[in-house]
């Protein structure tokens, strides 16, 4: 149980919120609403998977919103060129991975702090996209683009399966593959990682590239739910994603964190806003309430780990 302790406070907050909803707004639990919520939070979840890797290695990527927009537009443009939706999706993932690789190379090999690299990428690529598209949406997509040419239910099913597969495989791989453990090792103690033969620069590079690819995947899965693609997608997405990951118990200093925590973080942030709507709160106070919930969650966590640390000190002194 110890291993999941940092996730407990988030799980507790979710359960508390759900209990309140069960009494005051049982309509929240309709199948339809739940499936809508899952689909609406899918992009944030998939990007958050990658962000978890990045933050566990002790870095940060604030360019994901921009990457998301670029990949969305690219997927649409490729589809219009005649590629089938799956091929267009692949292309979007490759472009995402390339953008991530640029960030990763600058962070891992040129050793520029990740916040600077991804800040520059966020601003520069966003403006480049604006310039190229001039704000125009991608329209007149081929008929087989929306819903991948199948039905809405089938497509939603596929989306759900892909997301579930990603969560499970990354969650499992992070826990059970040496490749996954090397992410933790790099974030926990980079020097010690090198001593046991882990190529920590390659690990850092890879997590950024993977995050880019996952962002591309999220962009595709989001785009196929509509029949046109806006060019200004993903503004502010980085904040949502980072918040979800951090609320899910991943340490911003690296080394600690988990996919199940991130999943819980995404769920908590994903249900706050609709829950407040169901409970009849005005939209005007939502952002303030969200900010306060984040501050409380991390504050609570900090106080707890402080207590733990002083207990650890005590153990050390008396040993």
């Amino acid at each position: 149980m110890k291993r999941f302790r940092s996730e407990l406070s988030v799980a507790f907050a979710i359960v508390a919120l759900l209990i309140v909803l069960a009494f005051l707004a049982p309509g929240f639990f309709t199948r339809e609403n739940l499936s809508d919520l899952v689909l609406a939070n899918m992009p944030v979840l998939i990007v958050a998977l990658g962000m978890t890797l990045v933050i566990v290695t002790g870095h940060i990527d604030i360019s994901v919103g921009t990457t998301f927009a670029i990949c969305s537009v690219a997927a649409g443009e490729f589809a219009k060129l005649g590629l089938p939706a799956v091929g267009a999706g692949m292309a979007a993932c490759v472009i995402g991975a390339m953008l991530g690789a640029i960030n990763g190379a600058l962070v891992a090999y040129v050793r520029i702090p990740s916040i600077v690299v991804t800040l520059a990428a966020m601003v520069a690529f966003r403006d480049a996209l604006r310039w190229i598209t001039q704000g125009a949406w991608v329209q007149d997509l081929p008929a087989n683009f929306q819903w991948l040419g199948t039905s809405q239910a089938a497509s939603n099913g596929i989306t759900f399966l892909v997301a579930a597969a990603l969560v499970i495989s990354i969650g499992w791989g992070l826990r059970n593959l040496p490749a996954g453990r090397s992410v933790y090792a790099t974030g926990s103690n980079e020097n010690a990682a090198r001593l046991v033969g882990i190529d920590s620069a390659l690990v850092t590079f890879s997590v950024f590239a993977i995050t880019g690819a996952l962002t591309g995947c999220a962009a595709l899965l989001n785009s196929i739910r509509f029949n046109q693609i806006p060019s200004n997608a993903g503004i502010g997405m980085e904040m949502k994603v980072i918040t979800a990951v951090v609320v899910g118990g991943t340490a911003i200093t690296g080394g600690r964190g988990s996919i199940q925590g991130t999943l819980l973080g995404v769920i908590l942030l994903g249900i706050i806003s609709p829950a407040l709507t169901y409970l009849g709160f005005s939209a005007y106070w939502e952002r303030a309430i969200q900010g306060l919930i984040i501050l409380c969650a991390v504050g609570f966590d900090a106080v707890r780990s402080r207590l733990e640390r002083s207990a650890g000190d005590f153990a050390e002194r008396t040993a």
Binding site: M98, A136, P274, T277, A283, W285
Partner: protein, 672 residues
């Protein structure tokens, strides 16, 4: 003491490679002096300084924060909160300006102290704390004002602080100078500043030298909250308005300026001189691009590139120096391959973007040579918005037809301060006519009056400024007309009775808030049976409008009509409706026919309202050209506007026509 023992001047003044930023700055000035009109003038530099004050205050405040190894993402949000508090105290509570300013500064200090306490006392990483307060401060500001209240009408004596001149320099310049000197002394001369560097370099180890680490760290966040509220007051005086969106995105610009100036995000390195150089290299870049009529998107691209390049070069040099001492970083072939691949990928993307660009440039009109070509500068509210993109087509058509040069530029997102900045640069450049789609009436009027004094013809379009600040307003539809048309249509579809919900843009969007006011008024006066259940924001994001609609449908099952009043919100609401399969709920709204076409054909969206945006763009340039050739006599009651024929002039308004009702019958005839 012999001179040789001192460090040489370069290391003394530029310890972190700031000279590279200085070189970049000189290069910028050199390039823009030759390509941009009226760039190298005193008047222009004075304006650049005025526009740099708010950002400069934040960047100065962030310098010590970053030197201690921290970060403060909440400064922009604190500006929003402070602006709103200040506005409320002066306009609602009728406090004297001085007292209100004092109270506002206290709010800034309190917010900064909160950050500082959580970081220094509870040892929570600064990134997380300020990420939380980033949301919380902005959220409180929106909560207080419901996002909508826009305080304006401040006393003239107060506005002087942001708009007036003191001995020929902008009145807010002394504030920036005091802040520069103050922070310079604090960091480089004072006992406290030395401690901040020690904290950045040695972290907690600074305690061993008797430095009160917690208190010093608390202090820098406290000061940054304070500086943000000072910046907010100047911002209010500068724009003449206080709204909850003040300072949005400023935190990233400020961090960019500091980091560009050579500060290390790991702490311990950075100078005020570097920050000032970084600040001006950003603001001169923006100003120069406007004056050279280059698209403002280049700002982000160039800033990002310069940021990464300066640090990368610095890193490479540093590595060369320490290679002997450190264990050499041995690069394996695979790593070199990856690095090369990444660089290649970057180059490919850039090249691809250029090809795309060249293609898009080809369609742009080339300005006619020989003789004086009238230059008409037209500004949308936001460049990327599909609505304004479609206006642009008409504007370009008119420019081709009349053989005038068209400058089309504006903020990339809704940003009143940026609009002022661009108008200022157009005045400096000396264009013949300026036409602005006004984001904020009070804010832009001063600068438009200034343009008129300089003999530039001024028009407003889409949304009006104060009447004496422009010659004509190209009126496509009044907020009242839009509000009434939407309400009437809703009443018609609902049979005069029933619940409806509104999906707006951002909660703080001025236009939408005006429309909502008229919708409410009309419903109250004329349709007592209509009941507005809720207003939800879409932040001009199609996907957010989509999920908000889904939620509304479930939470309020009685809602029979969704009124989406932001262009991307209508397709979002339409898609949600289509996927829900609810046939009993209607969608109406204000949007572009192009992006709504599929939904109107499906019958998911019943009606949208809009004027002919292409014609609006056409008329804007046409009227601008006629004004600049003095072809509109005073007291005229109509003008001949090219293919639009004769249009009525009502007072100082040129009427485009009533809002267009777009539905199944006519949508295929519209091409925008």
């Amino acid at each position: 003491m012999p001179n040789a023992l001192h460090k040489n001047w370069r290391e003394r003044w530029f310890p972190n490679g700031e000279w590279m930023v200085l070189l970049a700055l000189i290069a910028e000035i050199g390039i823009f002096s030759s390509v941009a009109q009226n760039f190298f003038t005193t008047a222009n530099f004075v304006e650049v300084i005025r526009l740099s004050v708010e950002l400069g205050l934040l960047a100065l405040a962030l310098t010590p924060v970053i030197i201690t190894g921290g970060i403060d993402l909440s400064v922009g949000s604190m500006m929003g909160l402070s602006a709103v508090v200040f506005g409320a105290l002066v306009m609602d509570w009728h406090w004297p300006v001085a007292a209100a300013a004092f109270a506002t500064l206290l709010i800034g200090c309190a917010g900064g102290a909160l950050n500082g306490m959580l970081i220094a006392e509870f040892k929570i990483p600064a990134l997380i704390v300020t990420l939380g307060s980033f949301s919380a401060f902005r959220g409180i500001a929106e909560g207080i004002t419901h996002g909508a209240v826009n305080y304006s009408g401040f006393p003239k004596s107060f506005l002087f602080l942001g708009q007036g001149y003191l001995l020929g320099v902008p009145a807010q310049l002394p504030v920036l100078l005091i802040a520069m000197i103050g922070y310079g002394l604090l960091l480089h001369r004072s006992v406290i500043g030395r401690g901040l560097y020690a904290i950045g370099l040695a972290g907690n180890g600074a305690r061993w030298a008797g430095i009160a680490v917690g208190r010093r760290i608390g202090l820098v966040y406290f000061l940054s909250g304070f500086a943000a509220s000072v910046a907010a007051i100047i911002y209010v005086a500068h724009l003449g308005q206080a709204k909850s969106d003040a300072g949005t995105g400023y935190e990233l610009d400020a961090i960019t300026a500091v980091v560009l100036g050579g500060a290390s995000v790991a702490g311990g390195r950075g100078t005020i001189l570097g920050t000032v150089l970084g600040l001006f290299s950003i603001s001169i870049l923006q100003n120069g691009l406007h004056l050279a009529a280059l698209p403002s998107e280049l700002t982000g691209i160039l800033t990002g590139t310069v940021l990464v390049l300066t640090i990368a070069i610095d890193r490479m040099r540093a590595r060369g120096r320490t290679l002997i001492q450190e264990e050499a970083i041995e690069m394996k072939n695979s790593q070199v391959a990856i690095l090369c691949g990444a660089i290649l990928a970057g180059a490919l993307i850039t090249a691809g973007a250029n090809v795309w660009l060249v293609r898009s440039l080809k369609t742009m009109p080339s300005s006619a040579s020989g003789g004086h070509t009238a230059v008409i500068a037209v500004m949308p509210k936001a460049k990327g918005d599909p609505y304004f993109v479609s206006c642009r087509t008409g504007a370009e058509e008119a420019a081709r037809e009349l053989g005038v040069e068209l400058i089309w530029d504006g903020p990339t997102g809704l940003d009143a301060a940026k609009q002022n900045e661009i108008v200022e640069s157009w005045i400096t450049r000396g264009v013949d006519a300026i036409a602005v789609a006004v984001e904020n009436q009070a804010g832009i009027s001063t600068v438009l009056r200034k343009a008129r004094q300089r003999g530039i013809h001024v028009l407003t379009w889409d949304a009006d400024a104060e009447p004496d600040a422009r010659e004509y307003f190209l009126n496509q539809a009044t907020p009242e007309g839009i509000g009434n048309a939407l309400t009437d249509e809703a009443a018609r579809l609902l049979g005069g009775k029933g619940d409806f919900a509104i999906i707006t843009g951002a909660l703080s969007a001025a236009n939408q808030n005006q429309w909502i006011a008229f919708i409410k008024k009309r419903a109250q006066e004329k349709y007592p049976g209509l009941n507005m259940v809720t207003i939800r924001p879409s932040d001009d994001d199609r996907d957010k409008a989509f999920s908000e609609t889904q939620t509304i449908l479930k939470v309020h099952p009685t809602v029979k009509l969704i009124m989406a009043i932001s262009a991307p919100a209508v397709p979002g609401a339409g898609e949600a409706m289509r996927q829900s399969g609810r046939k009993d709920v209607d969608v109406i709204g204000l949007s572009l026919p192009g992006i709504c076409k599929p939904y109107i054909h499906d019958g998911v969206v019943q009606t949208i309202f809009l004027w002919n945006t292409k014609n609006l763009g056409y008329l804007t340039v046409y009227a601008g050209a006629m004004l600049s050739q003095n072809k509109i006599p005073a007291g005229a009651t109509s003008i001949q506007a090219g293919r639009l024929g004769s249009l009525e002039i009502n007072g100082s308004q040129i009427i485009l026509g009533a809002p267009l009702l777009i539905d199944k019958r006519n949508i295929d005839k519209l091409d925008f």
